[in-house]
Amino acid sequence: MKIKAQVAMVMHLDKCIGCHTCSVTCKNTWTNRPGTEYMWFNNVETRPGTGYPKRWEDTERFKGGWTLKNGKLQLKAGGPISKLMNIFYNPDMATMDDYYEPWTYNYQNLIDSPKGEHLPVARPQSVITGEYIDKPEWGSNWDDDLAGGTETVSQDPTVEKLQDHISMEYEKTFMMYLPRICEHCLNPSCVASCPSGALYKRDEDGIVLVDQEACRGWRFCMSGCPYHKVYYNWNTHKAEKCNFCYPRTEAGLPTICSETCVGRIRYIGVVLYDADKVKEAASVEDPQDLYESQLSVFQDPFDPEVIEAAKKAGINDEWIESAQNSPVYKMAMKWKIALPLHPEYRTLPMVWYVPPLSPIMNHITNEDDLSTDGYIPAVDQMRIPVEYLASILAADDTKLIRRVLLKLTAMRVHMRGKTVGGIDAFRQSELLKEANTTPEELEDMARLLGIAKYNERFVIPTGRREMDDDLYYAQGACSLEDLAPPEGMASLIGGNS
């Protein structure tokens, strides 16, 4: 057993209102420099839609993530040897056309233009070439709120796959928001794709980072990440990606996207996992088993044996306590209402999603249908097809989605019963049985999903600075660490301590 800690996130999609505040604050914090204009470490996609970059889920084209070949786990785009053979031209890489040509506006013209008959305008101007763009034709949220209509919706790879289940009739239109950041996977394919070894997963918190000094710009991470969350900076010629706002999380603060989330949909917490089990978990035969196998990697933070092993691995009490209070552990591992995005990519992603409920498509005419158990068939008649959610969050396992939706429905029925009556009927109901839950659990869920305060949504221990073994040296050294000689008794043989 090799216990490692991972800082993970859950997003409760029911509460996402698609306001893009997360994207904007993230951009203002991290990617408002030349070369990063097109980078959206955080973006919010309207589903169904093309996503960003266009059709990123088309793994047959971009060849991101892992695949099983003769029972062995392999990078879908090919291993190190084939990467070295393709190093002069990456056939799988997305280009600026798949993202968009970033532009600004010539605001100066509004100030400088001489007095004239017409109002001056600020023309759009490419930040890549400086040329004027007559008409910007694509951007990161061009199809926001289904505004691309059938033209963009039909480009959604999931819609293509599910043609039988999804019809593009106006009356059956559905929509949901999918905010995305880097998944900080347990089995990151970007890390494995990097020829220079510049990408790495941090031991302390599992955050996946790019070493800017070691990156040589070979760009295999860009196509190697099936979520397309590693970007190439055309200005510095190095890769950049979401860093889970590590300067904030190390100080115990939530990421800026979570901090500013208007709907308070995001939860951050620590989970403990067994690093020795990761490869095995990613190598199960059936993609639909990946969800369960990923869950088996996580360790119960209350188990004395696990605590013992965690301490041995250098994880301190504050982190273990945070793992015990972790909202992520509760939602994803205990209640099993949060699901990983595209588990079939075999990267074991660590940003989890509580699938959204949606209005029922049918007219309820019979009053009996309003009884508690009437909600069971309702789950199958929700506006967002279960098949669509299953394709995104469950490797097409509709039963899994149905189970989660039932539990979320049971929670609503229960909480409604508590206020308007009918709680006794609910306790006896089939719904409770079929959702495989208890009123107590539902109430805990309702608290965390509905009214949890800041400190409950974000349980983030500070960086383990006290574990650094040179704190005495650092104290008072200010920023002279590398200049000042290490203190302590000089040994006779040389070297220090």
């Binding site: 002069f88 070439t129 890390v191 302390e204 990761v278």
Partner: protein
């Protein structure tokens, strides 16, 4: 005196600038050390130009090793006749040279024609492509149309020994005084290019990730590294 300058001082100066320039850039300008790809802007032309050129360079590099660094005696010991070596050198060299020249022309056109690529190309970028094109062009010309039979002039008995003598610090510059001019030009331009490597994008040659296949796929790093340091 001119011979001493061109065949002793100049090559050493170029090599010293290369070595110390690379060390300086590696130590203090690490953030600029990359293969500055423009594939993000344009990949249709790159698809042909880049692999053609790069594989051509690799073949040409190996060819130069075989012709200049490996002494003639080695081939004699293996029983490879002059004629056989020459055949290999002419056909292999021509192929590598043509790949480089065609690839570089494609890359140069691409650099000029596509606006995002051109706008972000620096002087050093154009310099390296054009310099490589000139040197590769001369080399290819020598190989394909030079018509130098081994009896007339064999670079393996002049340039080879001179090149090796540079590295044992007793340069035999006399060997180079009477070789055909076009060989002189190719050699000197080549050394000039070596000297300019630290100032261009060509540094990425020294970062070929040959160790990639041998390392573990997943990389973990500790921020504090207290686990490694504590003793």
């Amino acid at each position: 005196m001119g011979d001493v300058f061109w065949w002793v001082i100049f090559p050493y100066a170029c090599l010293i600038i290369m070595v110390f320039g690379l060390l300086y850039r590696f130590a203090f300008r690490q953030l600029t050390w990359a293969a500055p790809s423009t594939e993000f802007f344009e990949k249709k032309w790159l698809r042909f130009g880049s692999p053609l050129f790069h594989w051509g360079v690799i073949f040409a590099f190996i060819g130069h090793l075989m012709g200049i660094v490996v002494p003639m005696g080695f081939y004699d010991a293996l029983g490879i006749s002059n004629h056989l070596y020459h055949l290999g050198a002419v056909y292999g060299g021509s192929l590598a040279g043509l790949m480089m020249v065609v690839g570089l022309i494609i890359l140069l056109i691409r650099k000029i024609v596509f606006n995002p690529v051109r706008v972000h190309a620096t002087f050093a970028d154009f310099y390296s492509v054009i310099a490589l094109l000139i040197i590769a062009g001369i080399g290819t010309y020598i190989t394909m149309f030079g018509n130098f039979t081994p009896e007339e002039f064999d670079y393996r008995s002049a340039i080879g020994p001179w090149f090796r003598s540079l590295f044992v610090l007793s340069p035999q510059y006399q060997l180079m005084t009477s070789i055909p001019f076009i060989f002189k030009l190719h050699t000197l331009l080549g050394f000039g290019l070596f000297g300019s490597i630290p100032f261009t994008r060509l540094v990425h040659f020294y970062s070929i990730p040959v160790a990639y296949p041998t390392r573990a796929p997943q990389q973990y790093r500790s921020r504090a590294q207290y686990k490694n340091k504590s003793s």
